[in-house]
Symmetry: C2
Subunit: 139 residues, 2 copies
Amino acid sequence: MNAEFSVAVHAMVYLAAHCQASFNSSELASNICTNPARVRKVMSKLCKASLVVSTKGQGSGYASIAEARRTDLAVIAKAIDEVPVEDIWQSGDLDRDCLVCSGMGSVMDDICHGMNLVAFDYLKKVTIGSICDRLLQKR
Amino acid sequence: MNAEFSVAVHAMVYLAAHCQASFNSSELASNICTNPARVRKVMSKLCKASLVVSTKGQGSGYASIAEARRTDLAVIAKAIDEVPVEDIWQSGDLDRDCLVCSGMGSVMDDICHGMNLVAFDYLKKVTIGSICDRLLQKR
DNA sequence: TTTTAGTGTAATCATTATGGTTACATTAAA
DNA sequence: TTTAATGTAACCATAATGATTACACTAAAA
């Protein structure tokens, strides 16, 4: 799971915490501590998944959708096409006679998939709203 | 989670499936499809955690421990010092006044930790024995 | 006692992945 | 018509990864 996920969550939290306003990629980049091009790349994916709204032209930028607080992190991860556990290296070789050698690849694949399923279940329980509340001490 | 985990699991499964014999790093590397030095590096960690036994000198190598089939993948991951979800990039900056900017780092850290907890729970349920049985079609 | 075949471990190298930077076509407000 | 923004691609520097090489150490075998 790379930094795009952090950028996406941070941006969505920031927008949700200032839900009346709109911010351009430079303003978001400054708060996230990255560069505007990276922010735009991530926001473009969120926008395609309808998790944020973006406008174009002068004075444009990004803003929260109405249901932003209810958006969970699993949805965000899928929108930016990320999985918690990256594909593990598949050892062995399908063409070998040895059952261990030829079978370990798919075993590791399944294990990776299994971890991703439980990790996604966990991410489903974390919402942008819950993060906002925690950050703004509204527990 | 990098390839050392694959190497470790593959090696443990191979040794457990041939539990009467001992194999050197070249033999294991050939079955895993990697190089002997890499195998030795991983096996050395497993050995320190007493998950395999190794001998030295001429004719030496690695062999299964008696309880190998009951070893679970969480124990192996810990032995080689790996976590399923690598640290996610901590966005923001602790020294900023903005609560979102200064707080997101630890939020992402906690999320990463939460995913690792559930992923480790999953790995605990997968044992070397269960993988052997699957590969050798003893379901 | 010497030779030999192995482990343990570090150093180096090539390749890949990652993130930052720059550039520019496109868009829409002013 | 100008300006300020997004969307996206290309390029570069750096970091991470795995393969390779080397070698000190160890213990069996001759």
